[in-house]
Each structure stands twice: as C-alpha cells, then as structure tokens.
C-alpha cells in the first residue's frame, strides 16, 4: 500500500503541476542538449588531437651505404633517447612495398635500381610530442652517424600547440558554466516544486512519516523529468547532428560518425541529474520545514 501510495502521489504531483513539470522538462532538455553537444564536440576535438599525437612519427632516412653494423650503433643510440617509445626499421624493400601500396606503381617498373633509402619510423611517448621536445630529440638524432635526413611535421604540432590549449580552455569553461547552470536550473525547478508543496510535506511529518516516504514522490518526479528531459535533449541532438552532418557533407564532403550513443548518454545523464537534484533539494527543504511551523 505504501509504494502504491507513493507512486500514486508521484503521478498526481506530476499531473497536478503539469505546467511547471513541462517547463522543467524543457529546461532540462535544452540544457542537457547544449551540454552533451558541447561535450561531444570537445571530446571530438580532443580525441582528434590525441590521434594526431599518437600517430606522430619522426622519419629518419639512412644514408644509402649504411651497414647493418652501423644500424646496430644507431639503434643503440636511439635506445638511449628516453623520449623515444618505439622505432621500426623500414628497409629499402619495405619502402618500395609501401610506395607500391600507396601509389599503385611498382618502382622497379620505372627504375632499374631501388632509389628509396632505408629508414626508421620513430614514435615518441604521447606526452613528449611537443614542439620543443621534438626539436630537441631531432637534434640528438641528427648527431648520430649514418643518418641522412630527418622528417617530421613540426608545423602541425606548432599549430596544435597554439590553438589546442585555447580551444580546450574555452570549451572547458563553457561546459563548466553549463553544468553549473543546468544544475541550478533543475534544482531551482524541483526546489520550487517542493516548496509549493511544503504544507503537505509538513503535515506528513506531523503524522510521523519517514524520509523515504516523504522524498520518494519527489525523487520519482525528478527521475521522470530527468528522463523525459534527456529524451528531449537526445531528440534535439539528433536533429542538430543531422544538420551538422549535412553541412559537413556539403562543405567538406565528410560524413560525421554515427552518434546513436548520445541517446543513451542524454537519457542516463538526465535521469541521474533528476534524481540527484530532487533528492538533495527535498532534503534541504525537509530540514527547513522541520524548523518552522510552515
């Protein structure tokens, strides 16, 4: 009977305050969609940058006449540079194979001799891919005997370093402000909804009802608002993603990845926030009501 009453009361609360509830849902939906949307964009930017970092390589081309003994010395020296995570030897033949795979032409068809040098592909530890460190490493490599040429895309790194931090700071602060704002919005809505039923809460306390009994209808209400708000957010995001995708196709002929997981994320985050915001605000009010005689 107790849980039946709680459920009934929750449904009644939601129904009798449909306008504020709808407002709360819209509030949650809009905030959540902005939040999840921006987080998604920030994550995309971040992971793209990380991908670039992870795949950052220094190519060292060896002089044509390098012997396998010299290579051993080179490798020993490479081992001594602790910023280097791994290196991979690419022989003249491997290089020809790669060339063939990339350009579809057999280099031996054109030339009698394989003109490609043997080389090392060097990967650094992720945290070492910064312009200055890379330059430093390159300098040290350059001093090794038998090395003909070093190639790496430092311009890309420079660009990333110049903008990445700024983008992350701006994105981060937007997310932070939105999290704060959304939390305030939801708690605000639920608080005032609890507040408007303070008389009822007060009476129930006088009848000796426990906290769970008092709080459950509001928590259910919060959960409901959060879930529906999340669903609403997911719908908004779905449309935004479609628009963004079509724009991307139109502009860059690039098809964005599927983001179906945003549905579950939005709804889950909405539900969690709904429960969290409602239970904490009810708590607060119960304590306040207990002090005054309403």
């Amino acid at each position: 009977m107790r849980s039946f009453y709680i459920l009934k009361q929750a449904i009644y609360n939601i129904w009798s305050a449909r306008i504020p509830v709808i407002i709360a849902i819209i509030t949650i939906g809009i905030s959540l969609s902005v939040l999840v949307g921006i987080s998604e964009i920030a994550y995309k930017v971040y992971s793209t940058v990380e991908d670039i970092r992870k795949e950052f390589e220094i190519d060292i081309f060896l002089k044509p006449e390098t012997s396998s003994f010299q290579r051993e010395i080179i490798e020993r020296k490479l081992n001594n540079i602790h910023q280097i995570k791994s290196y991979k030897f690419i022989s003249k033949e491997d290089a020809a194979q790669i060339f063939f795979e990339e350009f579809g032409e057999n280099i031996f068809d054109i030339l009698t001799d394989n003109p490609l040098p043997s080389s090392y592909k060097i990967k650094l530890y992720g945290e070492m891919t910064h312009v200055e460190i890379v330059d430093n490493v390159a300098n040290r490599i350059n001093k090794i005997n038998g090395i003909d040429e070093i190639k790496y895309h430092n311009d890309l790194l420079t660009l990333m370093e110049k903008y990445f931090l700024i983008i992350m700071i701006i994105g981060g602060s937007i997310i932070f402000v939105l999290l704060l704002a959304m939390n305030i919005f939801i708690r605000n809505t639920i608080k005032l909804s609890v507040y408007s039923r303070r008389r009822q809460i007060f009476i129930l306390q006088l009848l000796g009802s426990g906290k769970i009994f008092l709080k459950s209808p509001f928590i259910i209400e919060g959960l409901f608002e959060g879930l529906i708000g999340g669903l609403f957010a997911a719908t908004i995001l779905y449309f935004l993603h479609n628009i963004a995708n079509e724009t991307a196709i139109y502009l860059f002929n690039y098809n964005l990845k599927n983001v179906d997981y945003l549905w579950s994320i939005s709804i889950a985050v909405g539900g969690i926030i709904g429960v969290f915001a409602s239970s904490t605000s009810v708590n607060k009010f119960i304590r306040i009501f207990a002090k005054n005689d309403y």
């Binding site: 009977m1 009644y12 009822q200 129930l204 009848l207 000796g208 426990g210 009994f213």
Partner: protein
C-alpha cells in the same frame, strides 16, 4: 505516561508556558480548559515534539524531549493521534486518503486500511463523502475527517485540540462520545476545548489553564 517537569516555553510576545508540572496517565481522559491564548495548543505541541521546552523536560512514554532524535520523533508521532486545531488535511487528497495516511505510513495492508477507514468514516457520518476532495469539505466535515485520521491508527494517546469548534451540538456530542468510547478501549485522550456546554457534566479529569500556567484546584474554586 506523559509527564511535564518544570516546563517553560518562551514566546516573544506572550507567556507561552511557565513552569508547568503535570502528568497524564495511560488510559486517562483529560480535558484541558482555558481562555484563548492560555497555552493549551502549546501544551499539546510539546507532547508530539513539534516544539521543545525552553526549560524543563517532557517525557512521553520512553521518549524524552531532552534527547529525542528526528528518527525517534517519527516513531513517537506514529503512536500519537493528533486532531490539529486547524485540521491540517491535505486538500488535494480525498477523504479516504486523508484518513488512510497514518495507516499507509505505518505500513498496513491495503485490505486492512480499506476496512478500517470505512468503519471509522461510517461511525463519524462521512461515508458518503469518502471520495470527495478534502479541500471542498465544509469546515465541520473537515474537522470530523481530522478526528477520524487521529483515531484510525489505534494510538496510545489521542491529542484533540478543540475538536468540536466547527461542529453543531449534535455532531459535537457524537465526537465526544466517540472519543470516550475509544478511551474506554484503552487509549488515553487529552482534549483541549472551549465547549463548556458539551463537557459540563463530563466526569473526566479537568485541567484549567490561564496565561501559560495550570491553575491549582483551589485557584479554580476561587475563580468560579
């Protein structure tokens, strides 16, 4: 057993209670009389720990105002039936739900609640209004619902604050008789009232309050 020991309550503009010592025995029916503002409701509120004494202590069964916790207040209140002077029904719930609330809180089964609530509403003459929203009742009907809500849960004591203020003489007698009947079955009753006509010939213990104090026997006789 309920026991007030040197209880005072300070209010900013009036007396509240001053050094009250009084005992209410189990199964006893006590009438609390006194002019408006004399502290009757304050006395009752101390029993269900809605307020605490500024000094002194109130003991209710095994609970004491000195060291009760929120969790224990909950238990205490589940064992007390209260008719508030302003009823305190939940307006958007039906008469049935309002009366059923204490039983729901105490965790009774659905069937038991239905039987119990219908019985008490029948006794008090409100079975016809069982589905009506409490907010649309007449004041006298509200008052009777409040009484039903207080008695439905078989408490060890019923605190009835002016339970007949909005009732016509006939209904008042019905309510008073109901309380006496419940008292006979073993529940203590403490009833604050102005209805001297109603209780004139009642054989029950009477406490007279004035200005935050309980008058002694001799004072009463002097005043009368």
């Amino acid at each position: 057993m309920i026991k007030f020991s040197n209880v005072s309550v300070d209010y900013p503009y009036s007396e509240g209670l001053t050094d009250v010592n009084v005992e209410f025995k189990d199964k006893e029916f006590t009438l609390v009389l006194g002019p408006t503002g004399s502290g009757k409701s304050t006395l009752l509120r101390l029993i269900y720990m809605d307020i605490y004494p500024s000094s002194g202590r109130v003991d209710v069964q095994k609970w004491s105002s000195k060291k009760i916790t929120a969790r224990k207040i909950k238990k205490l209140r589940r064992n007390i039936g209260i008719v508030f002077q302003d009823f305190r029904l939940i307006e958007n719930l039906s008469v049935f739900e309002n009366v059923a609330l204490p039983l729901i809180i105490n965790g009774y089964s659905r069937k038991y609640i239905k039987r119990k609530v219908e019985a008490i509403l029948d006794e008090i003459g409100l079975l016809d209004s069982i589905r009506q929203k409490a907010g649309t009742l007449s004041k006298g009907e509200e008052q009777r619902v409040a009484i039903a809500r207080a008695v439905v849960k078989n408490p060890f004591v019923i605190l009835a604050d002016e339970p007949t203020g909005n009732l016509d003489p006939d209904s008042s007698i019905t309510v008073f008789n109901l309380l006496r009947k419940i008292n006979k079955l073993g529940t203590a009753v403490i009833m604050a009232t102005h209805d001297y006509l109603l209780i004139k010939d009642a054989p029950n213990r009477k406490i007279l309050m004035d200005n935050g104090k309980i008058l002694k026997k001799q004072e009463i006789e002097k005043n009368a």
